[in-house]
């Protein structure tokens, strides 16, 4: 555990001194700011029941698809390519602590980026106090539910990135693999549901299995305040499995 905290501190420090971190953060916030503005504009013309913040967080998959690969592709692949992973593994630090620290570093930064987007509704309220109150810009409970979903799903998404980074020494390959895997998990689940719905009379267990992979359904549930244990199991178990596999891979490919 001691090694984990030393490594995590190092990871965060390296994130802080790396210009790429700030570029990724600025790009992320610019894109999300634009999306928030676009949603607000859309709502002016066609009023909706859903709070803008919830609607905004529904497009979480757009930044996830590029931020997660950018954040994680260097973590193991880059270190392996530079040879610094080898020197790290000559210390008494365990493989698990190395992987967990990489995961935690990327996860903390990922969540920090999302938490920064919470300032958007605040900014909107500051600038348009009259309009804001009426449109429910600060729908706290729904926003908290959505953020909770992002925190939970982030475990799986970042784990996918770490796993992709652990299987190769090329950052580009890691990034591409991570992007594809995330696309399959997020959009693939949705497509699976479309295919299932178009077919007739699916068995009950098949239907529940398809629902199990519905990332967007999970977000809807969380934003409505429904906390189901199945998404917890899905994201945490799969995330844990991928991190465990990454630990085995770096041990085998040292």
């Amino acid at each position: 555990m001691r090694h984990f905290f030393i490594l995590l501190k190092h990871e965060l420090r390296m994130l802080m001194i790396n210009p790429a971190t700030y570029i990724a953060a600025v790009l992320f916030l610019c894109l999300m700011g634009y999306l928030f503005w676009a949603i607000l504009r859309g709502m002016v013309n066609t009023p909706e029941d859903v709070a803008p913040a919830v609607r905004f967080l529904k497009v979480f998959w757009i930044p996830v698809l590029f931020v997660v690969p950018l954040l994680t592709m260097r973590s193991i692949a880059g270190e392996r390519n530079d040879g610094t992973l080898g020197t790290l593994m000559t210390t008494p630090a365990s493989r698990a602590s190395i992987i967990l620290s990489k995961f935690a570093g990327a996860y903390i930064f990922y969540m920090a980026l999302w938490l920064m987007t919470l300032s958007f509704p605040k900014i909107a309220v500051e600038f348009f106090p009259q309009t804001a109150v009426g449109s429910g810009l600060l729908a706290t409970s729904s926003t908290l539910g959505s953020i909770f979903f992002l925190a939970l799903s982030g475990v799986l998404f970042i784990s996918i990135g770490i796993f992709a980074s652990s299987i190769t020494r090329s950052q580009l390959v890691a990034g591409m693999f991570s992007f594809t895997a995330l696309f399959l998990v997020i959009v693939g689940g949705q497509q699976l549901s479309n295919i299932a719905n178009s077919g007739a009379d699916l068995a009950a267990w098949t239907q529940s299995l398809v629902n199990y992979f519905q990332v967007f359904e999970h977000l809807d549930d969380f934003s409505r305040g429904i906390v189901d244990t199945r998404p917890f199991f899905y994201y945490l178990s799969l995330g844990g499995l991928l991190l465990g596999l990454s630990t085995l891979i770096i041990e085998a490919k040292a």
């Binding site: 090694h3 610094t84 080898g86 020197t87 790290l88 593994m89 210390t91 008494p92 630090a93 365990s94």
Partner: protein, 343 residues
């Protein structure tokens, strides 16, 4: 295993797929010894070093470092070893002192001793005044190597393993690293691999030569010389031709053979000869050559084969023996020694 061995390796084998990178490698290193690991590219030096440092598991065989089994307790072995891998990878964005403190923490140097330990290794590696706050990415190759060695020294290891510590360095930097290694002699056990043979000869108490994944020779330079290039060698500068030279030797009953010859100025020839016997041959040779008809002896100098010649002889012999699929003399010797140790 015996207690005075800092490193004890027996029948270590590592396969990469169907190919054996090392096969039945056995050797030991005593405490405080500086041992050089020699071998051509792909001989298995790095694989052996990586297994010893706990980076890579062996397919079979066993290795102990300071009495601890590498396979059974790799974490403990890592506490006792300072390892500097080939090419010395370092993070380019960190400052020297920051990096060493970070490595010190990872190597479980107690917090209250961390600052002093880092200062000590920086002092030993001559980094304290010159490169302390410099960013590693801006350092010269020589200073990067020093940072790597300082890292290996952190945490009071009992054994330091350095894979090619002088690769890519200029002669001044090599001299600096050699002095550094000399300063560690007796205090720590040092194992280093290098392609630069004179450097190994000067720095190391003992040499282990590995070829095609097998230990083909082990001992001091003198022992290896005796085993692989026995007899005495001389360089003779004379006006005599080859036939006259051999006649002069046989007249004095000197068993000598000409290894090679080259033409020099003014009709002189320089011969390299090998003669049987130990010591005292020089005066006999001078006597034989001065008494030879119609020839003048210009110079005669004893010539000790250097490590390069020993290395070439040892690896050549192992190649020939491998082709004949017979175990090398040293392999048999190493196996017997290991059996005796076990008994």
């Amino acid at each position: 295993m015996e207690n005075n061995h800092s490193i004890y390796v027996k029948n270590l084998t590592r396969y990469y797929g169907a190919i054996a990178a090392i096969k039945n490698v056995s050797f030991n290193v005593n405490r405080g010894e500086v041992v050089g690991f020699l071998g051509p590219n792909g001989a298995g030096k790095s694989t052996t070093m990586r297994i010893l440092s706990g980076l890579l598991p062996a397919s079979s065989g066993s290795a102990w470092v300071s009495g601890t089994s590498v396979a059974q307790n790799p974490k403990e072995v890592k506490r006792r070893i300072g390892f500097m891998p080939e090419n010395n990878p370092l993070p380019d964005d960190m400052r020297v002192v920051e990096y060493l403190r970070y490595r010190g923490r990872l190597k479980e140097v107690p917090g209250r001793k961390l600052r002093a330990s880092v200062e000590e290794v920086m002092e030993v590696c001559d980094l304290a005044r010159t490169a302390r706050r410099k960013i590693i990415g801006t350092l010269s190759k020589g200073f990067r190597q020093r940072v790597g060695i300082a890292d290996a020294l952190l945490g009071d290891p009992e054994v330091i393993i350095m894979d090619e510590p002088t690769i890519g360095l200029d002669p001044h930097q090599i001299q600096g690293i050699r002095k550094l290694i000399d300063s560690l002699r007796g205090r720590l056990t040092v194992v280093l691999s290098s392609h630069i043979l004179p450097e190994i000869e000067r720095s190391c108490d003992r040499v282990i030569i590995i070829n095609r994944g097998r230990v083909v020779a082990s001992g001091t330079s003198a022992e290896l010389r005796e085993e692989f290039l026995p007899g005495q060698r001389f360089e003779i500068d004379t006006s005599a031709d080859k036939a006259a030279l051999l006649t002069a030797f046989s007249a004095k009953q000197i068993e000598a053979s000409i290894l090679d010859q080259r033409e020099a100025d003014s009709g002189r020839t320089i011969y390299n000869i090998r003669a049987d016997g130990n010591g005292g041959l020089g005066p006999q040779l001078i006597d034989a050559l001065t008494q030879a008809d119609s020839s003048t002896l210009h110079s005669l100098a004893p010539k000790e084969p250097n490590l390069e010649e020993i290395f070439l002889a040892a690896t050549k012999r192992s190649w020939e023996e491998t082709i004949e699929s017979k175990p090398t003399a040293n392999m048999v010797k190493a196996e017997k020694a290991a059996e005796a140790t076990d008994a």
